[in-house]
Homo-oligomer: 151 residues x 2
């Protein structure tokens, strides 16, 4: 079943998010799947790389283009633990990523809060896959951050 497969792939994206967590980065992870195979992975590394563009999705999209030898990712599915921001939605648009599956919504900085038109008109979206786990990891991160700041 599609939903079982989506959960399995989202678990891999969550593992990427956990790597970000372990490195003190906002825990967002992404993978890209083509022909049922993971072809690219990425996790948020903006702090480590001093690079505001180093979101999980951006790293995964760059890696997928490199792997496929094409900047067009129509036949790919991007799994990401958090709703993409406007920057990442823009990259998804230019890469023409065929399908996007995300876990938690981001009401503050998610692309939908700007304009749903940011997504490619042919892109298909599935939302809320393992939403609880994706959200929980983010909440754990921000809770720890607040505690550290209090000290």
């Amino acid at each position: 079943m599609q939903s079982d497969k989506d959960e399995s792939f989202m678990k891999i994206a969550l593992q990427q998010a956990e790597l970000a967590f372990d490195e003190g980065e906002i825990p967002v992870g992404a993978i890209i799947v083509a022909d049922g195979k993971v072809i690219a992975k990425g996790y948020n590394q903006t702090e480590k790389l001093n690079d505001p563009t180093a979101h999980a999705e951006m790293i995964a999209i760059t890696a997928a283009g490199h792997y496929l030898g094409s900047r067009h990712l129509q036949d790919c599915t991007l799994y990401v633990t958090l709703e993409p921001c406007a920057m990442c939605a823009g990259a998804i648009y230019w890469g023409q990523v065929g399908r996007i599956v995300y876990g938690a919504s981001d009401e503050k900085r998610g692309f939908k809060s700007y304009s749903e038109k940011l997504a490619h008109p042919r892109a298909k979206f599935t939302t809320g896959v393992l939403e609880g786990e994706c959200k929980e990891l983010l909440m754990k991160f921000f809770k720890q951050l607040r505690q550290k700041r209090k000290k």
Copy 2:
């Protein structure tokens, strides 16, 4: 005068755009200036790198963060020959780039066609600097492309 300085820096961004042109890429160039000094350059390389994220601004922002050892670019000015797209506007937002100067407008894919909110509320914009030259290079590129496709 600020406008003379802006034109001088935009000329350097245009040289970057010409490098893109020479490599058969859509000719957009960008530089980032801090303390009156060019600290980063970039030109569109999406075809060469098979990377939909490799816009001029993205490459320059990544390079500037690396140079400064910080992902925050509040004290920087980004010069770019074309109005940033939504992806690049998102990167400008996350990088908190203090000032953005661009040449030609992009009515089709420029960030303003989606939402002016994509820009950081504190970012200052100057538009239309060397607009003619920036536009002319783009038009020359698309004219050549159409001629090649006809053959």
